[in-house]
Amino acid sequence: MLRFIIRRVVIIIPMLFIIVSITWGLIRLAPGNFYLGERKLAPAVEKNLREKYGMDKPWYVQYWKVFRNFGHGDLGTSLKYEGQSVNQIIWRAFPVSATLGLCAYLLALAVGITTGTLAALRQNSWVDYACTALAMVGISIPNFVLGPLLVLVFALTLFWLPPALWDGFPSKSIVLPAITLSAIYIAYIARLTRSGMLEVMRSDYIRTARAKGLSERAVVMRHGLRGGLLPVVSFSGPALAFLITGTVVVERVFALPGLGNYFINACFNRDEPLIIGIVAFIAIAVLVLNLLVDISYGFLDPRIRYE
Protein backbone atom coordinates (compact mmCIF):
# COMPACT_ATOMS: atom_id res chain seq x y z
CA MET A 1 0.00 0.00 0.00
CA LEU A 2 2.73 2.46 0.99
CA ARG A 3 4.75 1.53 -2.09
CA PHE A 4 1.67 2.07 -4.23
CA ILE A 5 1.15 5.55 -2.77
CA ILE A 6 4.81 6.52 -3.18
CA ARG A 7 4.85 5.34 -6.79
CA ARG A 8 1.71 7.33 -7.56
CA VAL A 9 3.04 10.46 -5.85
CA VAL A 10 6.32 10.22 -7.74
CA ILE A 11 4.58 9.90 -11.11
CA ILE A 12 2.69 13.16 -10.49
CA ILE A 13 5.86 15.19 -11.05
CA PRO A 14 6.66 14.01 -14.61
CA MET A 15 2.97 14.25 -15.52
CA LEU A 16 2.81 17.82 -14.33
CA PHE A 17 5.96 18.52 -16.34
CA ILE A 18 4.35 17.04 -19.48
CA ILE A 19 1.11 19.00 -19.05
CA VAL A 20 2.87 22.31 -18.48
CA SER A 21 5.22 21.67 -21.41
CA ILE A 22 2.32 20.88 -23.78
CA THR A 23 0.53 24.04 -22.71
CA TRP A 24 3.66 26.14 -23.04
CA GLY A 25 4.34 24.64 -26.46
CA LEU A 26 0.83 25.39 -27.66
CA ILE A 27 1.11 28.99 -26.51
CA ARG A 28 4.44 29.29 -28.32
CA LEU A 29 3.13 27.65 -31.49
CA ALA A 30 0.20 30.03 -31.66
CA PRO A 31 0.73 32.91 -34.06
CA GLY A 32 0.68 36.47 -32.77
CA ASN A 33 1.15 37.81 -29.26
CA PHE A 34 -0.98 38.92 -26.38
CA TYR A 35 -0.23 42.58 -27.10
CA LEU A 36 -1.07 42.34 -30.80
CA GLY A 37 -4.53 43.79 -30.89
CA GLU A 38 -6.35 45.90 -33.41
CA ARG A 39 -3.81 48.67 -32.96
CA LYS A 40 -0.45 48.55 -34.70
CA LEU A 41 2.37 49.19 -32.24
CA ALA A 42 5.40 51.32 -32.95
CA PRO A 43 8.54 49.13 -33.31
CA ALA A 44 10.17 50.80 -30.31
CA VAL A 45 7.12 50.13 -28.12
CA GLU A 46 7.00 46.53 -29.25
CA LYS A 47 10.69 46.09 -28.53
CA ASN A 48 10.21 47.46 -25.01
CA LEU A 49 7.26 45.18 -24.39
CA ARG A 50 9.20 42.16 -25.56
CA GLU A 51 12.07 43.07 -23.28
CA LYS A 52 9.77 43.68 -20.32
CA TYR A 53 8.18 40.23 -20.60
CA GLY A 54 11.40 38.47 -21.47
CA MET A 55 10.24 37.54 -24.94
CA ASP A 56 13.46 38.71 -26.56
CA LYS A 57 15.35 35.85 -24.96
CA PRO A 58 15.81 32.48 -26.67
CA TRP A 59 12.97 29.95 -26.19
CA TYR A 60 14.88 27.64 -23.86
CA VAL A 61 15.55 30.51 -21.46
CA GLN A 62 11.84 31.34 -21.38
CA TYR A 63 10.94 27.67 -20.97
CA TRP A 64 13.37 27.25 -18.13
CA LYS A 65 12.02 30.41 -16.47
CA VAL A 66 8.56 28.84 -16.20
CA PHE A 67 9.88 25.90 -14.21
CA ARG A 68 12.28 27.99 -12.15
CA ASN A 69 9.37 30.14 -11.06
CA PHE A 70 7.36 27.02 -10.30
CA GLY A 71 10.12 25.85 -8.01
CA HIS A 72 9.71 29.06 -6.01
CA GLY A 73 5.93 28.64 -5.90
CA ASP A 74 5.61 31.82 -7.94
CA LEU A 75 3.41 31.60 -11.01
CA GLY A 76 4.30 35.03 -12.35
CA THR A 77 2.25 38.12 -13.06
CA SER A 78 -0.86 38.27 -15.17
CA LEU A 79 -0.48 40.16 -18.44
CA LYS A 80 -4.14 41.14 -18.70
CA TYR A 81 -5.01 41.90 -15.09
CA GLU A 82 -2.13 44.28 -14.56
CA GLY A 83 -0.38 44.29 -11.23
CA GLN A 84 -2.06 41.09 -10.07
CA SER A 85 -0.02 37.97 -9.57
CA VAL A 86 -1.33 34.68 -10.88
CA ASN A 87 -1.15 33.30 -7.34
CA GLN A 88 -3.50 36.05 -6.13
CA ILE A 89 -5.99 35.41 -8.93
CA ILE A 90 -6.01 31.66 -8.34
CA TRP A 91 -6.47 32.01 -4.61
CA ARG A 92 -9.36 34.39 -5.20
CA ALA A 93 -11.06 32.31 -7.89
CA PHE A 94 -10.45 28.78 -6.59
CA PRO A 95 -12.71 29.05 -3.49
CA VAL A 96 -15.60 30.05 -5.77
CA SER A 97 -15.17 27.00 -8.00
CA ALA A 98 -14.51 24.70 -5.05
CA THR A 99 -17.58 25.88 -3.13
CA LEU A 100 -19.76 25.47 -6.19
CA GLY A 101 -18.36 22.03 -7.00
CA LEU A 102 -18.67 20.77 -3.45
CA CYS A 103 -22.26 22.00 -3.06
CA ALA A 104 -23.22 20.40 -6.37
CA TYR A 105 -21.58 17.11 -5.47
CA LEU A 106 -23.16 16.91 -2.02
CA LEU A 107 -26.56 17.77 -3.49
CA ALA A 108 -26.08 15.09 -6.12
CA LEU A 109 -25.05 12.51 -3.52
CA ALA A 110 -28.14 13.22 -1.42
CA VAL A 111 -30.63 13.24 -4.31
CA GLY A 112 -28.93 10.56 -6.41
CA ILE A 113 -28.50 8.00 -3.64
CA THR A 114 -32.05 8.51 -2.38
CA THR A 115 -33.71 8.13 -5.78
CA GLY A 116 -31.41 5.27 -6.79
CA THR A 117 -32.15 3.35 -3.59
CA LEU A 118 -35.91 3.94 -3.88
CA ALA A 119 -35.82 2.76 -7.47
CA ALA A 120 -33.92 -0.39 -6.54
CA LEU A 121 -36.19 -1.26 -3.61
CA ARG A 122 -39.32 -0.89 -5.75
CA GLN A 123 -37.87 -2.49 -8.87
CA ASN A 124 -40.19 -2.32 -11.93
CA SER A 125 -42.74 -0.14 -10.16
CA TRP A 126 -43.66 3.33 -11.38
CA VAL A 127 -41.15 4.79 -8.87
CA ASP A 128 -38.42 2.82 -10.59
CA TYR A 129 -39.46 3.91 -14.07
CA ALA A 130 -39.78 7.55 -13.00
CA CYS A 131 -36.30 7.54 -11.45
CA THR A 132 -34.74 5.80 -14.44
CA ALA A 133 -36.39 8.22 -16.86
CA LEU A 134 -35.28 11.18 -14.74
CA ALA A 135 -31.71 9.90 -14.74
CA MET A 136 -31.75 9.52 -18.52
CA VAL A 137 -33.08 13.05 -18.97
CA GLY A 138 -30.43 14.37 -16.57
CA ILE A 139 -27.67 12.79 -18.65
CA SER A 140 -29.12 14.11 -21.90
CA ILE A 141 -29.81 17.76 -21.14
CA PRO A 142 -26.56 19.69 -21.59
CA ASN A 143 -25.84 21.93 -18.60
CA PHE A 144 -25.52 25.00 -20.82
CA VAL A 145 -29.14 24.45 -21.86
CA LEU A 146 -30.39 23.53 -18.40
CA GLY A 147 -28.76 26.54 -16.72
CA PRO A 148 -30.33 29.23 -18.93
CA LEU A 149 -33.70 27.43 -18.79
CA LEU A 150 -33.60 27.42 -14.97
CA VAL A 151 -32.71 31.12 -15.05
CA LEU A 152 -35.62 31.76 -17.40
CA VAL A 153 -38.09 30.04 -15.08
CA PHE A 154 -36.87 30.81 -11.57
CA ALA A 155 -35.13 34.16 -12.05
CA LEU A 156 -36.77 35.92 -14.98
CA THR A 157 -40.35 34.63 -14.69
CA LEU A 158 -40.93 33.78 -11.03
CA PHE A 159 -38.31 36.21 -9.61
CA TRP A 160 -37.44 33.76 -6.82
CA LEU A 161 -33.68 33.64 -7.29
CA PRO A 162 -31.04 35.95 -8.77
CA PRO A 163 -30.02 35.15 -12.38
CA ALA A 164 -26.29 35.81 -12.01
CA LEU A 165 -24.57 36.78 -8.79
CA TRP A 166 -22.01 35.38 -6.40
CA ASP A 167 -22.58 35.81 -2.66
CA GLY A 168 -20.62 32.84 -1.41
CA PHE A 169 -21.96 29.71 0.17
CA PRO A 170 -25.05 30.22 2.28
CA SER A 171 -26.95 32.43 -0.12
CA LYS A 172 -29.74 32.36 -2.67
CA SER A 173 -27.28 32.96 -5.47
CA ILE A 174 -25.68 29.52 -5.29
CA VAL A 175 -28.93 27.57 -5.73
CA LEU A 176 -29.31 27.71 -9.51
CA PRO A 177 -25.62 27.15 -10.37
CA ALA A 178 -25.41 24.23 -7.94
CA ILE A 179 -28.54 22.58 -9.36
CA THR A 180 -27.29 23.07 -12.92
CA LEU A 181 -23.91 21.58 -12.13
CA SER A 182 -25.34 18.68 -10.14
CA ALA A 183 -27.87 17.47 -12.74
CA ILE A 184 -25.48 15.13 -14.50
CA TYR A 185 -24.07 13.79 -11.22
CA ILE A 186 -27.58 13.13 -9.90
CA ALA A 187 -28.31 11.12 -13.02
CA TYR A 188 -25.13 9.05 -12.88
CA ILE A 189 -25.24 8.50 -9.13
CA ALA A 190 -28.89 7.43 -9.25
CA ARG A 191 -28.12 4.90 -11.99
CA LEU A 192 -25.05 3.55 -10.22
CA THR A 193 -26.84 3.32 -6.86
CA ARG A 194 -29.79 1.53 -8.45
CA SER A 195 -27.72 -1.17 -10.14
CA GLY A 196 -25.40 -1.52 -7.15
CA MET A 197 -28.31 -1.88 -4.71
CA LEU A 198 -30.13 -4.37 -6.95
CA GLU A 199 -27.09 -6.60 -6.94
CA VAL A 200 -26.39 -6.28 -3.23
CA MET A 201 -29.98 -6.81 -2.07
CA ARG A 202 -29.90 -10.27 -3.62
CA SER A 203 -26.73 -11.36 -1.87
CA ASP A 204 -26.53 -13.86 0.94
CA TYR A 205 -25.50 -11.45 3.67
CA ILE A 206 -28.66 -9.43 3.14
CA ARG A 207 -30.68 -12.61 3.50
CA THR A 208 -28.78 -13.30 6.72
CA ALA A 209 -29.51 -9.82 8.00
CA ARG A 210 -33.20 -10.29 7.27
CA ALA A 211 -33.18 -13.78 8.80
CA LYS A 212 -31.76 -12.57 12.08
CA GLY A 213 -34.80 -10.30 12.35
CA LEU A 214 -33.47 -6.85 11.50
CA SER A 215 -36.03 -4.31 10.36
CA GLU A 216 -36.08 -3.65 6.62
CA ARG A 217 -34.85 -0.13 7.33
CA ALA A 218 -31.79 -1.39 9.17
CA VAL A 219 -31.12 -3.98 6.48
CA VAL A 220 -31.09 -1.32 3.77
CA MET A 221 -29.32 1.46 5.65
CA ARG A 222 -26.72 -0.54 7.51
CA HIS A 223 -25.99 -3.48 5.25
CA GLY A 224 -27.37 -2.74 1.80
CA LEU A 225 -25.98 0.73 1.24
CA ARG A 226 -22.47 -0.15 2.34
CA GLY A 227 -22.04 -2.59 -0.52
CA GLY A 228 -24.41 -0.92 -2.93
CA LEU A 229 -22.56 2.39 -2.87
CA LEU A 230 -19.16 1.06 -3.95
CA PRO A 231 -19.85 1.88 -7.63
CA VAL A 232 -20.71 5.41 -6.53
CA VAL A 233 -17.31 5.70 -4.85
CA SER A 234 -15.52 4.51 -7.98
CA PHE A 235 -17.44 7.16 -9.88
CA SER A 236 -15.66 9.92 -7.92
CA GLY A 237 -12.70 9.67 -10.30
CA PRO A 238 -14.66 10.32 -13.53
CA ALA A 239 -16.80 12.78 -11.55
CA LEU A 240 -13.77 15.03 -11.30
CA ALA A 241 -13.60 15.29 -15.07
CA PHE A 242 -17.27 16.25 -15.21
CA LEU A 243 -16.64 18.75 -12.47
CA ILE A 244 -14.01 20.62 -14.48
CA THR A 245 -16.00 20.85 -17.72
CA GLY A 246 -19.16 21.50 -15.74
CA THR A 247 -17.79 24.37 -13.68
CA VAL A 248 -16.33 26.05 -16.76
CA VAL A 249 -19.76 26.11 -18.40
CA VAL A 250 -21.75 26.93 -15.27
CA GLU A 251 -19.42 29.77 -14.30
CA ARG A 252 -19.79 31.08 -17.84
CA VAL A 253 -23.60 30.82 -17.81
CA PHE A 254 -23.99 32.45 -14.40
CA ALA A 255 -21.03 34.83 -14.78
CA LEU A 256 -19.36 33.57 -11.58
CA PRO A 257 -15.82 34.72 -10.75
CA GLY A 258 -14.43 31.18 -10.60
CA LEU A 259 -11.35 29.47 -11.95
CA GLY A 260 -13.11 28.20 -15.10
CA ASN A 261 -14.23 31.65 -16.14
CA TYR A 262 -10.75 33.11 -15.56
CA PHE A 263 -9.24 30.23 -17.51
CA ILE A 264 -11.41 30.76 -20.61
CA ASN A 265 -10.78 34.49 -20.52
CA ALA A 266 -7.05 33.93 -20.12
CA CYS A 267 -7.09 31.64 -23.19
CA PHE A 268 -8.88 34.25 -25.26
CA ASN A 269 -6.59 37.02 -23.99
CA ARG A 270 -3.45 34.92 -24.47
CA ASP A 271 -2.53 35.71 -20.89
CA GLU A 272 0.37 33.28 -20.87
CA PRO A 273 1.34 33.19 -17.17
CA LEU A 274 -2.31 32.95 -16.14
CA ILE A 275 -3.01 30.08 -18.59
CA ILE A 276 0.02 28.10 -17.46
CA GLY A 277 -0.69 28.84 -13.80
CA ILE A 278 -4.31 27.71 -13.96
CA VAL A 279 -3.47 24.63 -16.06
CA ALA A 280 -0.80 23.60 -13.58
CA PHE A 281 -3.10 24.25 -10.63
CA ILE A 282 -5.97 22.23 -12.09
CA ALA A 283 -3.58 19.45 -13.10
CA ILE A 284 -2.18 19.19 -9.57
CA ALA A 285 -5.68 19.24 -8.11
CA VAL A 286 -6.89 16.51 -10.47
CA LEU A 287 -3.84 14.28 -10.03
CA VAL A 288 -3.89 14.55 -6.24
CA LEU A 289 -7.65 14.01 -5.99
CA ASN A 290 -7.45 10.99 -8.30
CA LEU A 291 -4.76 9.56 -6.06
CA LEU A 292 -6.93 10.11 -2.97
CA VAL A 293 -9.85 8.37 -4.68
CA ASP A 294 -7.68 5.37 -5.55
CA ILE A 295 -6.35 5.14 -2.01
CA SER A 296 -9.85 5.36 -0.56
CA TYR A 297 -10.97 2.27 -2.51
CA GLY A 298 -8.55 0.21 -0.52
CA PHE A 299 -10.13 1.29 2.74
CA LEU A 300 -13.73 0.99 1.59
CA ASP A 301 -13.47 -2.32 -0.19
CA PRO A 302 -11.10 -4.74 1.55
CA ARG A 303 -11.25 -6.99 -1.53
CA ILE A 304 -9.13 -4.53 -3.50
CA ARG A 305 -5.39 -5.00 -3.04
CA TYR A 306 -2.60 -2.98 -4.56
CA GLU A 307 0.56 -4.69 -5.53
Binding site: I19, M136, S140, F144, L149, R194, S195
Partner: protein
Protein backbone atom coordinates in the same frame (compact mmCIF):
# COMPACT_ATOMS: atom_id res chain seq x y z
CA UNK B 1 -1.38 -32.58 -41.50
CA UNK B 2 -1.42 -35.57 -43.84
CA UNK B 3 -4.94 -36.27 -42.74
CA UNK B 4 -6.08 -32.79 -43.59
CA UNK B 5 -4.60 -32.90 -47.08
CA UNK B 6 -6.12 -36.24 -47.99
CA UNK B 7 -9.37 -36.26 -46.09
CA UNK B 8 -11.36 -39.45 -46.06
CA UNK B 9 -15.00 -38.98 -46.79
CA UNK B 10 -16.34 -39.59 -43.29
CA UNK B 11 -14.24 -36.99 -41.37
CA UNK B 12 -14.86 -34.48 -44.15
CA UNK B 13 -18.58 -34.84 -43.74
CA UNK B 14 -18.16 -34.51 -40.03
CA UNK B 15 -16.13 -31.33 -40.50
CA UNK B 16 -18.74 -29.87 -42.83
CA UNK B 17 -21.52 -30.50 -40.38
CA UNK B 18 -19.54 -28.83 -37.62
CA UNK B 19 -18.93 -25.66 -39.64
CA UNK B 20 -22.57 -25.67 -40.70
CA UNK B 21 -23.89 -25.69 -37.14
CA UNK B 22 -21.37 -23.09 -36.10
CA UNK B 23 -22.52 -20.83 -38.89
CA UNK B 24 -26.11 -21.16 -37.75
CA UNK B 25 -25.10 -20.30 -34.20
CA UNK B 26 -23.06 -17.34 -35.51
CA UNK B 27 -25.91 -15.77 -37.44
CA UNK B 28 -28.51 -16.40 -34.78
CA UNK B 29 -26.46 -14.42 -32.27
CA UNK B 30 -26.95 -11.31 -34.40
CA UNK B 31 -30.53 -12.21 -35.24
CA UNK B 32 -31.24 -12.69 -31.54
CA UNK B 33 -29.71 -9.32 -30.84
CA UNK B 34 -31.93 -7.65 -33.44
CA UNK B 35 -35.02 -9.32 -32.00
CA UNK B 36 -34.11 -8.23 -28.48
CA UNK B 37 -33.40 -4.71 -29.69
CA UNK B 38 -36.77 -4.37 -31.41
CA UNK B 39 -38.56 -5.72 -28.35
CA UNK B 40 -37.13 -2.83 -26.32
CA UNK B 41 -39.68 -0.01 -26.72
CA UNK B 42 -37.35 2.77 -25.61
CA UNK B 43 -34.63 1.65 -28.01
CA UNK B 44 -37.13 1.56 -30.89
CA UNK B 45 -38.31 5.03 -29.95
CA UNK B 46 -34.65 6.09 -29.90
CA UNK B 47 -34.07 4.65 -33.38
CA UNK B 48 -37.13 6.46 -34.73
CA UNK B 49 -36.16 9.85 -33.26
CA UNK B 50 -32.55 9.50 -34.40
CA UNK B 51 -33.72 8.55 -37.90
CA UNK B 52 -36.13 11.49 -38.06
CA UNK B 53 -33.56 14.03 -36.84
CA UNK B 54 -30.85 12.68 -39.15
CA UNK B 55 -33.19 12.71 -42.14
CA UNK B 56 -34.46 16.20 -41.32
CA UNK B 57 -30.90 17.50 -40.92
CA UNK B 58 -29.79 15.98 -44.21
CA UNK B 59 -32.68 17.06 -46.46
CA UNK B 60 -34.38 19.73 -44.32
CA UNK B 61 -32.17 22.73 -45.19
CA UNK B 62 -32.66 22.11 -48.94
CA UNK B 63 -36.42 21.74 -48.54
CA UNK B 64 -36.65 24.96 -46.51
CA UNK B 65 -34.56 26.84 -49.04
CA UNK B 66 -36.84 25.70 -51.88
CA UNK B 67 -39.97 26.50 -49.90
CA UNK B 68 -39.16 29.81 -48.22
CA UNK B 69 -35.80 30.90 -49.60
CA UNK B 70 -34.19 30.80 -46.16
CA UNK B 71 -30.95 29.00 -45.35
CA UNK B 72 -28.94 29.02 -42.15
CA UNK B 73 -26.97 32.09 -43.24
CA UNK B 74 -29.63 33.96 -45.22
CA UNK B 75 -30.27 37.41 -43.73
CA UNK B 76 -33.38 39.04 -45.22
CA UNK B 77 -32.60 42.12 -47.35
CA UNK B 78 -35.64 43.97 -46.04
CA UNK B 79 -34.36 45.76 -42.91
CA UNK B 80 -37.77 45.56 -41.25
CA UNK B 81 -37.28 41.77 -41.11
CA UNK B 82 -33.88 41.97 -39.38
CA UNK B 83 -35.18 41.24 -35.93
CA UNK B 84 -36.32 38.26 -33.89
CA UNK B 85 -39.87 37.07 -34.49
CA UNK B 86 -41.62 34.51 -32.29
CA UNK B 87 -42.46 31.05 -33.71
CA UNK B 88 -45.29 31.01 -36.28
CA UNK B 89 -45.46 34.81 -36.20
CA UNK B 90 -45.54 36.88 -39.37
CA UNK B 91 -43.92 40.35 -39.41
CA UNK B 92 -47.39 41.87 -39.31
CA UNK B 93 -48.17 40.04 -36.05
CA UNK B 94 -50.47 37.40 -37.53
CA UNK B 95 -49.99 33.64 -37.95
CA UNK B 96 -47.55 32.36 -40.55
CA UNK B 97 -45.94 29.04 -41.48
CA UNK B 98 -42.72 30.65 -42.70
CA UNK B 99 -40.78 30.38 -39.43
CA UNK B 100 -42.05 27.49 -37.28
CA UNK B 101 -39.22 28.13 -34.77
CA UNK B 102 -39.12 31.91 -35.18
CA UNK B 103 -36.13 33.95 -36.32
CA UNK B 104 -32.93 35.14 -34.64
CA UNK B 105 -31.77 38.71 -34.09
CA UNK B 106 -30.72 39.16 -37.72
CA UNK B 107 -33.96 37.67 -39.02
CA UNK B 108 -32.47 34.28 -39.97
CA UNK B 109 -34.83 31.29 -39.86
CA UNK B 110 -34.14 29.27 -36.69
CA UNK B 111 -35.50 26.01 -38.11
CA UNK B 112 -33.03 26.20 -40.98
CA UNK B 113 -30.25 27.01 -38.53
CA UNK B 114 -31.16 24.17 -36.19
CA UNK B 115 -31.20 21.66 -39.06
CA UNK B 116 -27.93 22.92 -40.54
CA UNK B 117 -26.46 22.89 -37.04
CA UNK B 118 -27.67 19.30 -36.81
CA UNK B 119 -25.68 18.43 -39.93
CA UNK B 120 -22.50 19.79 -38.38
CA UNK B 121 -23.11 18.32 -34.93
CA UNK B 122 -23.89 14.88 -36.36
CA UNK B 123 -20.92 15.00 -38.69
CA UNK B 124 -18.51 16.01 -35.94
CA UNK B 125 -19.90 13.29 -33.66
CA UNK B 126 -19.70 10.58 -36.33
CA UNK B 127 -16.23 11.41 -37.61
CA UNK B 128 -14.75 11.93 -34.15
CA UNK B 129 -16.26 8.60 -33.05
CA UNK B 130 -14.75 6.97 -36.12
CA UNK B 131 -11.35 8.46 -35.29
CA UNK B 132 -11.61 7.18 -31.73
CA UNK B 133 -12.77 3.80 -33.04
CA UNK B 134 -9.81 3.37 -35.36
CA UNK B 135 -7.24 4.45 -32.76
CA UNK B 136 -8.88 2.63 -29.84
CA UNK B 137 -9.48 -0.68 -31.60
CA UNK B 138 -6.01 -0.93 -33.13
CA UNK B 139 -4.30 0.15 -29.93
CA UNK B 140 -6.31 -2.14 -27.68
CA UNK B 141 -6.10 -5.13 -30.03
CA UNK B 142 -2.34 -4.83 -30.44
CA UNK B 143 -1.75 -4.39 -26.70
CA UNK B 144 -4.02 -7.30 -25.86
CA UNK B 145 -2.63 -9.69 -28.46
CA UNK B 146 1.07 -8.95 -28.09
CA UNK B 147 0.89 -8.85 -24.29
CA UNK B 148 3.89 -8.88 -21.97
CA UNK B 149 6.13 -5.85 -21.64
CA UNK B 150 4.68 -4.01 -24.64
CA UNK B 151 1.17 -4.42 -23.25
CA UNK B 152 2.37 -3.12 -19.87
CA UNK B 153 3.88 -0.01 -21.41
CA UNK B 154 0.93 0.64 -23.75
CA UNK B 155 -1.62 0.35 -20.97
CA UNK B 156 0.45 2.47 -18.61
CA UNK B 157 0.36 5.17 -21.28
CA UNK B 158 -3.44 4.86 -21.36
CA UNK B 159 -3.56 5.13 -17.55
CA UNK B 160 -1.44 8.27 -17.65
CA UNK B 161 -3.58 9.84 -20.39
CA UNK B 162 -6.69 8.93 -18.42
CA UNK B 163 -5.65 11.05 -15.48
CA UNK B 164 -4.72 14.06 -17.63
CA UNK B 165 -7.26 16.87 -17.45
CA UNK B 166 -7.54 16.73 -21.24
CA UNK B 167 -10.46 19.18 -21.45
CA UNK B 168 -8.08 21.86 -20.30
CA UNK B 169 -5.54 21.01 -22.98
CA UNK B 170 -8.25 20.86 -25.68
CA UNK B 171 -9.46 24.30 -24.62
CA UNK B 172 -5.93 25.72 -24.82
CA UNK B 173 -5.41 24.06 -28.21
CA UNK B 174 -8.64 25.34 -29.75
CA UNK B 175 -8.40 28.84 -28.23
CA UNK B 176 -4.80 29.49 -29.20
CA UNK B 177 -4.57 27.67 -32.50
CA UNK B 178 -7.83 28.41 -34.26
CA UNK B 179 -7.78 27.23 -37.87
CA UNK B 180 -7.88 29.85 -40.62
CA UNK B 181 -10.98 28.46 -42.33
CA UNK B 182 -14.23 27.13 -40.84
CA UNK B 183 -13.52 23.77 -42.49
CA UNK B 184 -10.08 23.65 -40.96
CA UNK B 185 -11.66 24.40 -37.62
CA UNK B 186 -13.97 21.41 -38.08
CA UNK B 187 -11.00 19.18 -38.88
CA UNK B 188 -9.28 20.43 -35.73
CA UNK B 189 -12.42 19.52 -33.76
CA UNK B 190 -12.53 15.97 -35.21
CA UNK B 191 -8.92 15.50 -34.33
CA UNK B 192 -9.16 16.98 -30.83
CA UNK B 193 -12.32 15.09 -29.86
CA UNK B 194 -11.34 11.82 -31.51
CA UNK B 195 -7.88 11.87 -30.03
CA UNK B 196 -9.16 12.12 -26.48
CA UNK B 197 -12.07 9.65 -26.59
CA UNK B 198 -10.31 6.44 -27.64
CA UNK B 199 -8.97 5.48 -24.22
CA UNK B 200 -11.97 3.52 -22.95
CA UNK B 201 -12.37 1.84 -26.33
CA UNK B 202 -8.75 0.66 -26.16
CA UNK B 203 -9.34 -0.82 -22.70
CA UNK B 204 -12.51 -2.62 -23.78
CA UNK B 205 -10.93 -4.10 -26.92
CA UNK B 206 -7.82 -5.16 -25.02
CA UNK B 207 -9.92 -7.03 -22.48
CA UNK B 208 -11.88 -8.78 -25.22
CA UNK B 209 -8.78 -9.72 -27.18
CA UNK B 210 -7.05 -11.07 -24.09
CA UNK B 211 -9.93 -13.40 -23.37
CA UNK B 212 -10.17 -14.48 -27.03
CA UNK B 213 -6.53 -15.01 -27.90
CA UNK B 214 -6.12 -18.32 -26.07
CA UNK B 215 -9.08 -19.89 -27.80
CA UNK B 216 -8.64 -22.69 -30.29
CA UNK B 217 -9.47 -20.78 -33.45
CA UNK B 218 -6.59 -18.39 -32.84
CA UNK B 219 -4.28 -21.31 -32.13
CA UNK B 220 -5.47 -22.85 -35.41
CA UNK B 221 -4.85 -19.61 -37.30
CA UNK B 222 -1.37 -19.34 -35.85
CA UNK B 223 -0.65 -23.01 -36.61
CA UNK B 224 -1.57 -22.53 -40.26
CA UNK B 225 0.85 -19.63 -40.48
CA UNK B 226 -1.44 -16.59 -40.56
CA UNK B 227 0.54 -13.40 -39.98
CA UNK B 228 0.14 -11.54 -36.69
CA UNK B 229 -1.53 -8.40 -38.15
CA UNK B 230 -3.98 -10.63 -40.00
CA UNK B 231 -4.77 -12.61 -36.85
CA UNK B 232 -5.43 -9.39 -34.96
CA UNK B 233 -7.58 -7.63 -37.54
CA UNK B 234 -9.23 -10.56 -39.34
CA UNK B 235 -9.81 -12.98 -36.50
CA UNK B 236 -9.71 -11.17 -33.17
CA UNK B 237 -11.30 -7.79 -33.89
CA UNK B 238 -14.43 -9.15 -35.63
CA UNK B 239 -15.04 -11.40 -32.64
CA UNK B 240 -14.79 -8.47 -30.23
CA UNK B 241 -17.24 -6.42 -32.28
CA UNK B 242 -20.25 -6.58 -29.95
CA UNK B 243 -18.88 -4.47 -27.09
CA UNK B 244 -17.13 -2.23 -29.63
CA UNK B 245 -20.43 -1.39 -31.36
CA UNK B 246 -22.11 -0.77 -28.02
CA UNK B 247 -19.39 1.52 -26.80
CA UNK B 248 -19.19 3.36 -30.13
CA UNK B 249 -22.94 4.05 -29.96
CA UNK B 250 -22.46 5.50 -26.50
CA UNK B 251 -19.44 7.52 -27.65
CA UNK B 252 -21.51 9.39 -30.25
CA UNK B 253 -23.67 11.29 -27.71
CA UNK B 254 -20.71 11.99 -25.47
CA UNK B 255 -18.66 13.41 -28.35
CA UNK B 256 -21.68 15.40 -29.49
CA UNK B 257 -21.93 16.86 -26.01
CA UNK B 258 -18.23 17.74 -25.97
CA UNK B 259 -18.53 19.47 -29.35
CA UNK B 260 -21.53 21.45 -28.10
CA UNK B 261 -19.65 22.34 -24.92
CA UNK B 262 -16.68 23.67 -26.90
CA UNK B 263 -18.92 25.49 -29.38
CA UNK B 264 -20.87 26.99 -26.49
CA UNK B 265 -17.62 28.46 -25.16
CA UNK B 266 -16.90 29.86 -28.63
CA UNK B 267 -14.06 27.41 -29.29
CA UNK B 268 -15.67 24.86 -31.57
CA UNK B 269 -17.64 25.56 -34.70
CA UNK B 270 -17.15 29.17 -35.83
CA UNK B 271 -19.57 31.47 -37.64
CA UNK B 272 -20.90 31.51 -40.29
CA UNK B 273 -21.16 27.73 -39.66
CA UNK B 274 -23.50 26.75 -36.86
CA UNK B 275 -23.84 23.76 -34.56
CA UNK B 276 -26.31 23.03 -31.79
CA UNK B 277 -23.78 24.21 -29.23
CA UNK B 278 -23.10 27.55 -30.91
CA UNK B 279 -26.84 28.11 -31.48
CA UNK B 280 -27.47 27.49 -27.79
CA UNK B 281 -24.69 29.94 -26.95
CA UNK B 282 -26.27 32.61 -29.16
CA UNK B 283 -29.70 31.87 -27.73
CA UNK B 284 -28.47 32.14 -24.14
CA UNK B 285 -27.40 35.75 -24.82
CA UNK B 286 -30.93 36.94 -25.51
CA UNK B 287 -32.70 34.51 -23.22
CA UNK B 288 -34.82 37.03 -21.35
CA UNK B 289 -36.42 38.55 -24.46
CA UNK B 290 -36.30 35.84 -27.13
CA UNK B 291 -36.36 32.51 -25.26
CA UNK B 292 -37.17 30.50 -28.43
CA UNK B 293 -33.66 31.16 -29.71
CA UNK B 294 -32.31 28.91 -26.95
CA UNK B 295 -35.21 26.54 -26.45
CA UNK B 296 -35.40 25.09 -29.97
CA UNK B 297 -31.75 24.20 -30.51
CA UNK B 298 -31.43 23.13 -26.86
CA UNK B 299 -34.45 20.86 -26.89
CA UNK B 300 -33.57 19.35 -30.28
CA UNK B 301 -30.14 18.51 -28.99
CA UNK B 302 -31.41 17.09 -25.69
CA UNK B 303 -33.92 14.94 -27.61
CA UNK B 304 -31.18 13.63 -29.88
CA UNK B 305 -28.86 12.84 -26.96
CA UNK B 306 -31.68 11.12 -25.09
CA UNK B 307 -32.54 8.97 -28.11
CA UNK B 308 -28.92 8.05 -28.75
CA UNK B 309 -28.52 7.04 -25.12
CA UNK B 310 -31.67 4.90 -25.28
CA UNK B 311 -30.37 3.31 -28.47
CA UNK B 312 -26.96 2.67 -26.94
CA UNK B 313 -28.44 1.12 -23.81
CA UNK B 314 -30.79 -0.99 -25.94
CA UNK B 315 -27.90 -2.21 -28.07
CA UNK B 316 -25.92 -3.10 -24.99
CA UNK B 317 -28.79 -5.13 -23.57
CA UNK B 318 -29.39 -6.78 -26.94
CA UNK B 319 -25.81 -7.64 -27.87
CA UNK B 320 -24.58 -8.63 -24.46
CA UNK B 321 -27.33 -9.94 -22.22
CA UNK B 322 -24.80 -10.59 -19.46
CA UNK B 323 -23.93 -6.92 -19.29
CA UNK B 324 -27.60 -6.04 -18.90
CA UNK B 325 -28.48 -4.20 -15.75
CA UNK B 326 -31.05 -5.97 -13.66
Amino acid sequence: MNNAENPKSAPAEHLDSVTATELVVGTSLWRDAWRRLFKNKLAVLGIIVVAVVVLASVIGPTVIQRATGYAYDVIPKDTRLNKSFAPFRSPEGGFSWTHPMGTDNAGRDILARVLSGGQISLMVALIATLVSLVIGVSYGAIAGYVGGRIDDVMMRVVDVLYSLPYVIIVIVLLALLPARTPTGQLAELFFALGAVSWLTMARIVRGQVMSLKHQDFILAARATGVSTPKIIFRHLVPNALGPVIVYATLTIPSVMLSEAFLSFLGLGVRPPRVSWGSLAADGAQTLAIFPWQLIFPGVTMALMLLSLNFLGDGLRDALDPQMKKQ
